[in-house]
């Protein structure tokens, strides 16, 4: 079968997933929750918001955009609302004044219907780029960020979720998605669980032929780096700016050799990094990994930032990347890489 090849600039720029919702969308959601507007209007607003986000990504010069997860209030909550067996008791704090509706598993989990396939189809239709990123919260993180009142233990719960996520990725693949990122920020949390969690996550990735990445952040990387070769994804997108790039040494220590989505933007700090700062950070990672294996992205989703700041941070990320691209081309590297 002929597989079409896609090319990207060297050091492709991308996002992790979420992006601030436009103020008007927040207002419409609020009014919808009060019963003041119809679902049809809300759906149209979501679509319009995705178009706005895509435009922001395009202006910034992002090579692989996402839909900014505009339809999702929160990364676990969104999936739990659409999988049978969950119940919500109310919000739980994550940090500062950020909360999420932590779900509770109260019954046997059940895949009802495709969860994010429609999101992907719309994104692809309105995107300026042939390659878009679709994010899916991984089975381990959904389990870790839920209360378990039903399954005998967490491992059993993660395997049940892995089956569901596997079905969803297969649906995405069928719909034409080329790049799915599994978000597993919880993976490094419990050292003693990583061994079986990796096996369960691989169950969720079984039989998938499209490009798979994994995003992990705000955890101890030394707990997952020994397992990266065992996880069936080609790229890990990791947060580094928040930790002042200190853990880059761990990549050497653990002989990291997969593609890296390199986090160069601190998403919990409103200070806008300069292009020079970003270029400097990229040069650091290039002393460890060949440029063909490096993608450039923010540390994590941008949604908690004001939109103006998020956009400016993305723009500078691209400008900083372009500075290094020029240096690479001068040094004899191809200016394009094959997306695989």
């Amino acid at each position: 079968m002929f597989m079409q090849e896609y090319y990207l600039p060297i050091l492709p720029t991308t996002v992790i997933g979420s992006y601030p919702r436009p103020r008007w969308l927040r207002d419409i959601i609020r009014r919808y929750k009060k019963g003041q507007i119809k679902e049809k209007v809300l759906k149209e607003a979501y679509n319009d918001a995705v178009i706005a986000v895509i435009k922001d990504h395009e202006i910034a010069g992002i090579d692989i955009p996402s839909d900014g997860e505009q339809r999702r209030d929160e990364m676990v909550e969104y999936f739990a609302e659409r999988i049978g067996g969950f119940k919500f008791y109310g919000p739980v704090r994550v940090w500062g004044n950020a909360f999420f509706n932590k779900p509770a598993v109260v019954d046997k989990l059940e895949y009802r219907e495709p969860i994010v396939v429609n999101e992907f189809s719309f994104l692809q239709k309105v995107s300026y780029s042939k390659i878009v990123k679709v994010t899916i919260t991984g089975p381990y993180t959904i389990a870790d960020w839920s209360f378990n009142e039903y399954y005998s233990d967490k491992e059993e719960l993660v395997y049940a979720l892995a089956e569901i996520i596997n079905r969803e990725i297969k649906e995405l693949e069928k719909a034409g998605a080329k790049y799915v990122q599994i978000d597993e920020p919880a993976l490094p949390t419990h050292e003693e669980e990583v061994e079986w969690a990796v096996k369960a996550i691989n169950k969720a990735l079984e039989g998938i032929k499209i490009k798979l990445g994994m995003h992990i952040c705000y955890g101890k990387y030394e707990r997952i780096l020994p397992y990266v070769d065992k996880i069936n994804v080609s790229q890990f997108a990791l947060e580094f700016a928040n930790r002042q790039f200190k853990d880059l040494e761990l990549l050497i220590e653990y002989s990291y050799n997969k593609e890296l989505g390199f986090g160069v933007i601190d998403v919990h700090n409103r200070r806008i990094e300069s292009p020079l700062e970003i270029a400097e950070a990229i040069r650091k990672v290039l002393s460890i990994l060949p440029p063909e294996k490096v993608y450039i992205n923010p540390d994590c989703g941008l949604k908690l930032l004001p939109r103006e700041i998020a956009r400016k941070k993305m723009e500078n990320m691209v400008l900083g990347t372009k500075l290094v691209r020029k240096e690479l081309v001068k040094a004899g590297f191809d200016d394009m890489i094959v997306f695989k």
């Binding site: 008791y89 704090r93 705000y218």
Partner: protein, 323 residues
Amino acid sequence: MSIETTFYGGFPRGKNFISLYSKFLKNDISREEFYKKTEAIVLGLIRKLSEYDVKIGTDGIFIWDDIFAPFSKALSSVEANGLYRFFDNNFYLRIPVVKGKISYEKCITCDWYRRIINRIKEERIEYTLRAVLPGYALFAFYSDDKYYNDKTRMLRDYHKVLLEEIESLRGIGIEDIELHDPALLCKEIPSKISEKSIDLYKSLNKQVISKVWVITYFRYSYFDRLESLIKDTNFIIHIDLVENSSIMDNLLSLMDGGTLSLGIVDARNTKLEKVRQLKTIIEKFREKVDKIYIAPNTFMEFIPERIAYRKVRILSNLSRKYR
């Protein structure tokens, strides 16, 4: 044996407070208006808890962002920076970055606590307010030391700061202090730090008049350190029996009177405990201690507000069985 219900640290924030705080952060309301409305919310919490016979506890630490802030603002040369995971939870805090010698500047929380104490008095609620502070090992564990190059040296200065803060709080009428120290017994803590922390707790025991509660939680790896705290201080030690049920026999063999706080309901899961099951735990301690405080195993911000109230009610129903 007497038995009383309590809780430690943060109480889950309700939707009213979340929206109020959000307005404050956006500068839509003044600090004074924020404090005034928060005061009413805190009073509502305390009133409701006292209906469940909770006569001692915190203010829910609604004005705290995390266990370090705003207290760390009372320390010179300390700034809040990177966001770090709080142990194995999907809960994050800004770590203190120590850029110079730590010293005490002023009590940041005293004004707030004074307001709450006054309102409790005005409303004639029978409630003893405990103030919350980070314990030694916790401070060392999460701080990013850019000055001392030796966290045990840093802890010596932190000790002086704690003494001054405890004294300031006593000055406004707070006699009960809870020092949260989940790091003290955890696997990852370097022994040098935990040993120093234990030494400093022993010194603190000799130096303060206030009633100190050391709040330990999550999985323990070092029972001997817990033993030392129980034996060598007069502090009330809170023990997480949800995560550490295996230490029960050792703990029982250690006790000969005194007061203990037992964390017996799981503040990290929504599944509700049965009173009769909890009673079997309490029965074991009946002949071993003079007084037991029963509490959730850790602070309750990991569960939704309505579940937190249900869990407190379960504890309260349990304590009523011993009247």
